[in-house]
Symmetry: C2
Subunit: 231 residues, 2 copies
C-alpha cells in the first residue's frame, strides 16, 4: 500500500509538471502573438485551451481517486492539496493566455495601434516568474519560490503605469482608445498571471514547510519512540 501511494504521488507530480510545461508554452505563444502581432499564434493559444482544461480535469480526478483510495495523511495529504491548487492555478493561467491571445488578434487588426514598452517588460517578467515558480515546484526549491514573490510587486507597478500611459495616449488622440483598451486588457491579464505564479510559489513554500515539519516530527519520533495512534 505504502509503495503504491508513493508511486501515485510521483505520477501526480509528473502530470502536474507536464501540465506546467504545456501552460508555459501556451503562455509564451500568447506573448509572442502580442509582440509580433501574429494572429496564427493567437489562434493556437485559443485552440490549446481545451487541452489544458481536460488536463486539469484528469489531474483533479486522479487527486479524487488518490484521496478516496489511498487515504493519505500528513505531508502526503498536504502535497496533494497543494497539487490541487497548483493544478487550478495553471488552468487559470491558460485562461489568461486566451484573453491575451484575443487581445493580440484585436490589435493585429489595427495596424496603427501603438505598443507601450511596459508590455514586453511585464511579459518578460511574468514569463520568468512562471518558469521559476514551476522550477521551484519541480526541485522543491524554497529560495527560488521566494524570488517569484518579490517580482510580483514590480509587475503590479507596471500594470498601473500602463493604465496611466494609455490615458495620456487617448487624451492626445481619441483614435487610440480601442487599441489602448486592448493594451490595458493585456497588461491586466499579465498582472493576473503574475498573481497566479505567486500562488504557485506560495504553495511550494507551504509544501516545503510541511516537509520540514514532517522531517522534524520523524526525528522526534525516533528519539522518543512516540506511538501516536489517536484520534
Amino acid at each position: 500500500m505504502e509503495r503504491r501511494l508513493e508511486r501515485e504521488l510521483e505520477s501526480l507530480k509528473t502530470s502536474l509538471i507536464k501540465m506546467g510545461s504545456v501552460v508555459e508554452e501556451v503562455f509564451g505563444l500568447a506573448i509572442r502573438a502580442v509582440l509580433d502581432r501574429k494572429e496564427d499564434l493567437a489562434q493556437k493559444v485559443i485552440e490549446a485551451d481545451e487541452r489544458i482544461n481536460s488536463m486539469e480535469l484528469e489531474i483533479d480526478n486522479a487527486i479524487l481517486d488518490l484521496l478516496a483510495l489511498q487515504q493519505p495523511v500528513a505531508s502526503d495529504l498536504r502535497f496533494i492539496l497543494a497539487a490541487q491548487k497548483i493544478n487550478n492555478d495553471l488552468e487559470r493561467i491558460g485562461d489568461h493566455a486566451v484573453n491575451i491571445a484575443e487581445s493580440a488578434q484585436a490589435l493585429s487588426r489595427k495596424s496603427e495601434a501603438e505598443m507601450l514598452r511596459e508590455i514586453p517588460q511585464m511579459a518578460a517578467m511574468t514569463n520568468t516568474m512562471l518558469r521559476e515558480a514551476l522550477d521551484s515546484f519541480i526541485q522543491l526549491n524554497p529560495p527560488m519560490a521566494q524570488t517569484v514573490l518579490k517580482t510580483d510587486d514590480e509587475v503590479d507597478d507596471l500594470n498601473r503605469l500602463v493604465a496611466r500611459r494609455v490615458i495620456e495616449l487617448v487624451k492626445d488622440d481619441t483614435r487610440t482608445i480601442e487599441g489602448g483598451l486592448e493594451l490595458i486588457r493585456i497588461s491586466r491579464n499579465l498582472e493576473r498571471v503574475a498573481d497566479l505564479t505567486t500562488n504557485i510559489a506560495e504553495e511550494v513554500l507551504f509544501e516545503a514547510e510541511a516537509r520540514v515539519v514532517k522531517h522534524h516530527a520523524e526525528e522526534k519520533k525516533d528519539t522518543h519512540h512516540e506511538n501516536y495512534r489517536e484520534p
Copy 2:
C-alpha cells in the same frame, strides 16, 4: 466515528454558509458604494477583506483536518472537495468586491463622472446570481443552480456593451477617460463575480449528482446485496 464525520460535515457546511452570507453582504456594500457614490461603504468593503481571508483559511484548515483525521470516501469526499472550491470562489468574490470598492472611491472623487445604465443592471443580475448560487448550495437545489448558469451569458453581453459605450463616451469627450476606465473595471469585476457564482452553481450540480449516484448505489446494494470492498 461515522457520527463524528457527519457532525463535522454539518459544521463545515455551516461555516461555508456563514462565509457565503458575509461575502454576499460585502458584495452588496460594494455595489451600493458604486451606485450611491458612498466612500464610507467602500472603506467597509476594503476592511472586510481580511475577515473573509481568515474565514477562508479557517475553512481550509478544517477541510485539511477532516481529510486527514476522518478519511472520508465517496460522496462525503466529493462534498468536501466541492466545499473547498466554493470556499476559494467565495474568497475571490471578496477580492472582486474590494476592486469594485476601490473603483467606487475613484469615481466618487470625480463628481463629473458618468454612470452607464448597464452597471446597475449587471450589479442586480450578479447579486441575484450570488444569492441563488448560495441558496442552491444550502438547499442542494439543482434547478436553482441551473438558473445561475443561464444568467451568466447575459452578464457577459452587458460587460462587452459597457466597453463599447465607454469608447463612445471618450471619443465624444476625452475628459471622460478616467471615469470610463473605472466603469470598465467595475463591469469586468462584476462579470468575474458572475463567473465565480457560476462555478459555485456547477459545484452544487456536481455535488447533487454525486448524491444521486450514491443514492442509486445504495438502492442497488440493497437489492443485490452487493458487498464491494476492494480495491
